[in-house]
């Protein structure tokens, strides 16, 4: 062996062009094949449970949802609109007196009526630490035990699976291109949120950044003439709060809480900010579109980590904060007002079980995300 190693003459030959092309072709073939495999949808969830769950799992729920949305976007003849919407309202218990536009002829189809706005002042914001983000029914709430959230008594789903912290198949997209709802000219200039101009300092309360002409209260809050006293009272040092949203761990003395609010078909289907907080990241999970009615929640385990959802992750004055709108069969489309790039319930979507991620860092250099206040409209659910 030693003799061969030392004495065998080494002859070098140029690699034939055909061989080189063959290698390149093989590499390219493997790459294309992997890409095509990634495009294929993962197999549907294999249901465990009573026959109702098996029936639901066998149905093409996403296609049905899109078909439902298309059907409800058809224009209804004007003459039929009042009768049709009144019948719908009677059946699902809608309060037509709360509508911003009471003219039933003005809603061209059921989708538009479903996404109706409410009059100013019909939903006063309570003076509380946390308020309800939407109309609906409180399904469940409590403390996250370990890594698990209790869906119903004895049935849990994993917090990391819900938020995507255990999933390595994320598809980072980058910074979201935000709408015009928040424009930061300069960190020390003024922000414009929903038409109300106010100082960024009102939101972040950075003591060292306080302008000399701004009166500062004993609690360190900047008093601004344009700030609602109720909002001002709740202002927080958000800039100083830096929770790790990719590895949620609570601080000593804190706990992780959860609350699930179910929106029934007749309810007002927009959702609002439940507190003053900053959204830093959005994760859009492709998934199934099972019904999320209380009946189905009891039947199907892990329902909230199976369905398509948009996890908005960020921070509030106590640390980590997240809000996760979850789609359902009849309302599969989720809209986020400040994120025009988000498209949900799409035919050609990201593979099931994966998510795309964008950050909202561009909204504010100081806060590191999109600032929201109590009651700010964030988005809503569309039919189909």
């Amino acid at each position: 062996l030693a003799d061969s190693w030392n004495n065998t003459e080494t002859k070098w030959y140029p690699i034939p062009v055909a061989l080189g092309l063959g290698v390149i072709g093989a590499i390219q073939y493997r790459r294309v094949r992997q890409r095509e495999e990634n495009k294929l949808e993962k197999p549907k969830y294999v249901a465990n449970g009573p026959w109702q769950v098996h029936v639901a799992a066998a149905l093409p729920l996403r296609s049905m949802s899109r078909l439902w949305g298309t059907f409800n976007s058809l224009t209804i003849p004007e003459a039929l609109r009042p009768m049709g919407y009144k019948l719908y309202s009677w059946f699902f218990g809608c309060n037509l007196d709360e509508m911003k536009n009471p003219d039933l002829y003005a809603y061209p189809n059921l989708s538009a009526f479903f996404y109706r706005e409410l009059k100013e002042g019909v939903r006063p914001i309570a003076d509380a630490t946390l308020v309800s983000p939407s109309d609906g029914k409180v399904l469940h709430f409590g403390v996250v035990q370990g890594e698990n959230i209790e869906q119903i008594k004895g049935v849990t789903y994993n917090l990391d699976a819900l938020l995507g912290n255990d999933d390595k198949s994320s598809i980072p997209v980058g910074d979201a291109i935000l709408g015009n709802s928040l424009e930061i000219v300069d960190e020390e200039e003024f922000a414009n949120v929903n038409g109300i101009e106010y100082s960024l300092e009102d939101m972040i309360i950075k003591g060292h950044a306080v302008k000399t002409e701004s009166p500062v209260g004993p609690d360190g809050l900047v008093r601004s003439e344009k700030t609602d006293p109720k909002v001002e009272k709740a202002l927080v040092k958000l800039a100083d709060v830096t929770p790790d949203i990719t590895n949620v761990k609570v601080k000593p003395g804190n706990a992780m809480f959860f609350c699930v609010v179910y929106l029934a078909p007749g309810d007002y289907h927009r959702f609002h900010s439940p507190t003053n907080w900053v959204v830093q990241t959005r994760r859009h999970f492709a998934g199934e579109l099972f019904s999320v009615s209380p009946y189905f929640v009891k039947l199907l385990q892990n329902l909230f980590v199976l369905n398509e959802r948009v996890a908005l992750l960020g921070k509030w004055k106590h640390g980590f904060f997240s809000m996760i709108p979850v789609g359902a069969t009849n309302v599969g489309s989720i809209k986020i007002n400040f994120d025009e790039a988000l498209k949900t319930n799409q035919k050609e979507d990201i593979p099931l079980g994966t998510y795309t991620e964008v950050t909202y860092k561009s909204a504010s250099k100081v806060l590191g995300g999109k600032a929201l206040r109590y009651g700010d409209e964030m988005g809503g659910f569309y039919l189909g």
Partner: protein, 32 residues
């Protein structure tokens, strides 16, 4: 459709709702 909130708060945080309760947007969910 459903909205799930998951958040960190001091252990003294208390929900002032009951399971199954109907709620309107803006009504108090909890208080420290």
């Amino acid at each position: 459709s459903t909205v799930v909130l998951v958040f960190e708060a001091p252990s003294s945080f208390k929900f002032n709702v009951t399971a199954g309760q109907k709620i309107k947007m803006g009504e108090a969910l909890g208080q420290i």
